[in-house]
C-alpha cells in the first residue's frame, strides 16, 4: 500500500466518521485543601509544578488523587495489601507507571527536579526506611498524596 492510498483511506474515513477524538486527558477533580502542615511539606513539589504544563499538572493531580484512594481503601474489605513502606513504594511506582508513563505518555526526567521533590516529601512525611506501615503512617501517606494532588493545582504560585 503506497502513501497516496493510505492518505486516501484516511481522508475517506474522516469523511465518513469524522475526526477521531483526541486522547482523553484528565479533568480537574475536587481536590481537598490540605492542612497547613501538609502545605508546608509539599513546598518542594510546588516549586517544580510552576514549570509544568497545565495538562501534566492535571495528570499529577490524577495520579495522587487515585493513589490516595488506593492507600486509604486498602484493607477495608479484604486483608491489606499495602502493609509496609516497601509495598507502598511498589504501589506508588505502579500507579506512576500506569498513569504518568502509560496514559500520559510522559518520559522520565521530563521535569527536572520533580522526581527528587516527590522523593523528598515522601521520605520526609512517610519514611525513607523499610518498615511495616502503621495506621498512622497510612493516614499520613493519604494526606500527603492529597496534598501533592492539591499542589498540582498550582494555587500557591
Amino acid at each position: 500500500m503506497n502513501l497516496r492510498t493510505v492518505a486516501a483511506v484516511v481522508l475517506l474515513a474522516v469523511g465518513l466518521f469524522g475526526v477521531p477524538p483526541l486522547p482523553a486527558i484528565p479533568t480537574s477533580t475536587s481536590v481537598q485543601e490540605p492542612s497547613d502542615e501538609m502545605k508546608t511539606a509539599v513546598k518542594p513539589v510546588l516549586k517544580v509544578v510552576s514549570r509544568m504544563s497545565p495538562i501534566d499538572r492535571l495528570w499529577l493531580q490524577n495520579i495522587y488523587e487515585n493513589f490516595a484512594k488506593v492507600v486509604a481503601s486498602d484493607g477495608i474489605v479484604d486483608e491489606p495489601v499495602v502493609t509496609s513502606t516497601d509495598s507502598l513504594r511498589a504501589t506508588h511506582i505502579a500507579v506512576l507507571k500506569f498513569i504518568w508513563k502509560g496514559m500520559a505518555n510522559n518520559s522520565p526526567s521530563k521535569y527536572e527536579g520533580l522526581a527528587e521533590a516527590i522523593d523528598e516529601v515522601m521520605s520526609g512525611v512517610i519514611s525513607d526506611e523499610s518498615r511495616p506501615l502503621t495506621p498512622e503512617m497510612r493516614k499520613s501517606a493519604v494526606e500527603l498524596c492529597r496534598a501533592i494532588a492539591w499542589a498540582g493545582l498550582g494555587k500557591d504560585q
Binding site: 513504594r89 506512576l96 507507571k97 504518568w100 522526581a115 522523593d119 515522601m122 523499610s130 511495616p132
Partner: protein
C-alpha cells in the same frame, strides 16, 4: 518397616538449669511480667507474623541431635517477626535464625568451655544463656564475606564440638535476646504467648504423629528427649499449645486448626505443627527447663530505594 530416624538432642541438666534460673533477675514469668495477662477466650498464634515478614518461609529437618538449637532458633524467628509485625518495630527481617549458632554457643561458650567433645545435645538453660549473652547468627546475612545459605548437620556437628568460630562471635553478639524467663505451666505459657513471646520447651514427652479431629497429637510414652518451640495457645472447650516440630515439613498429618478462626494453616506450618493438650503442657513445662523469650535485638531497617523508581 522401621520408623524414620528422628534426632532429638535434649540432654537434661537439672542442676545447671536451676543454677541458671536462680541467677536471673526475674527467674519466672510471674516475676518478670506480673502485668502480663492472657485473654482466656482468645486464641493466639505467632506463625502469621513469620509469614508476613517472610512469605516463603520454611524450616528444615534437624540432621543431628541439635534440637535445642532448632527450638530456640524457631522461637527467635517467631519473636523477631512478631516484634516487627505486631509491635511495629522498625526493623528489617533478614533471614531465618541459624540453628547451628545457638547449638554451638549452648554447648561451648555458654558453659564456659573451649571445646565440647561429648555426644550430641544440649539443654534449655544453656541455650537460654547462649541467646541472651552470646546472641545468634542468621541465614543470608553477610558476615564479612561468610554467608550461610543452606542448613548443614555437619556444621552443627563441628561447631557443637568447637563452639562458634571466634571471628563470628562479634556478629552474634549484636543479635541477642533481652530476656529468657522460666515458664513452668500452661497458664504462664498463655500469658507469654499472648504478649508475643514464644516458649522454647525442653521435655521428655513424646506424641503420636497423627493429629486428631481437633488438630491435637495425643501424648504417648515414646519419651522424646526433645526441645521445640511453642508458638500458639488456644482456649475454648479444649485448651492447648501449638507445638512446632523440627523434623521437617512432613512430620505430622491429619486435621488441623490454624489458631485463626476461618483461616487454613499455612503450608509451611501444616506438616510440622500440632496442638498439645493443656494438661500435657503442664507436665512438660514442670521439668523447669523451658523459657519464654522476649526483646530481640534485631536488625536496623534497610533504606528504601527512591520512591519514584525512575518513572517520573
Amino acid at each position: 518397616m522401621a520408623a524414620p530416624w528422628r534426632p532429638q538432642g535434649y540432654v537434661p541438666n537439672p542442676k545447671a538449669a536451676e543454677k541458671y534460673v536462680s541467677s536471673l533477675k526475674w527467674p519466672t514469668l510471674a516475676e518478670a511480667g506480673p502485668e502480663l495477662k492472657s485473654d482466656d477466650k482468645r486464641d493466639v498464634v505467632l506463625w502469621p507474623a513469620i509469614i508476613r515478614v517472610k512469605p516463603n518461609y520454611s524450616r528444615v529437618a534437624q540432621a543431628i541431635g541439635s534440637c535445642v538449637g532448632h527450638g530456640f532458633a524457631g522461637c527467635i524467628d517467631a519473636l523477631s517477626s512478631t516484634e516487627i509485625v505486631v509491635h511495629g518495630e522498625p526493623e528489617d527481617w533478614p533471614g531465618r535464625c541459624l540453628e547451628a549458632s545457638i547449638y554451638a554457643l549452648s554447648r561451648v561458650e555458654a558453659r564456659g568451655l573451649t571445646r565440647n567433645y561429648g555426644g550430641d545435645g544440649s539443654y534449655g538453660a544453656a541455650a537460654a544463656e547462649a541467646v541472651t549473652n552470646w546472641g545468634c547468627l542468621h541465614y543470608d546475612v553477610d558476615y564479612n564475606g561468610t554467608i550461610f545459605k543452606e542448613y548443614s548437620g555437619t556444621r552443627e556437628k563441628q561447631w557443637g564440638a568447637s563452639g562458634l568460630p571466634d571471628e563470628l562471635e562479634p556478629f552474634a553478639k549484636r543479635r541477642t535476646v533481652k530476656t529468657a524467663t522460666l515458664v513452668t505451666n500452661f497458664k504462664q505459657l498463655c500469658d507469654a504467648i499472648s504478649s508475643g513471646y514464644p516458649v522454647a520447651q525442653c521435655s521428655q514427652q513424646g506424641f503420636v504423629f497423627k493429629r486428631d479431629e481437633d488438630g491435637f497429637c495425643k501424648a504417648n510414652n515414646a519419651g522424646w528427649s526433645h526441645c521445640t518451640a511453642f508458638i500458639g495457645k488456644r482456649m475454648g472447650k479444649r485448651p492447648g499449645a501449638l507445638y512446632w516440630q523440627s523434623w521437617g515439613p512432613k512430620s505430622n498429618s491429619g486435621p488441623h486448626y490454624s489458631g485463626v478462626p476461618g483461616k487454613e494453616m499455612h503450608p509451611a506450618f501444616e506438616g510440622c505443627t500440632f496442638w498439645v493438650d493443656a494438661d500435657v503442657v503442664d507436665r512438660m513445662l514442670a521439668g523447669r527447663d523451658s523459657y519464654a523469650l522476649s526483646g530481640y535485638k534485631g536488625f536496623p531497617p534497610r533504606k528504601l530505594p527512591r520512591w519514584t523508581g525512575g518513572v517520573l
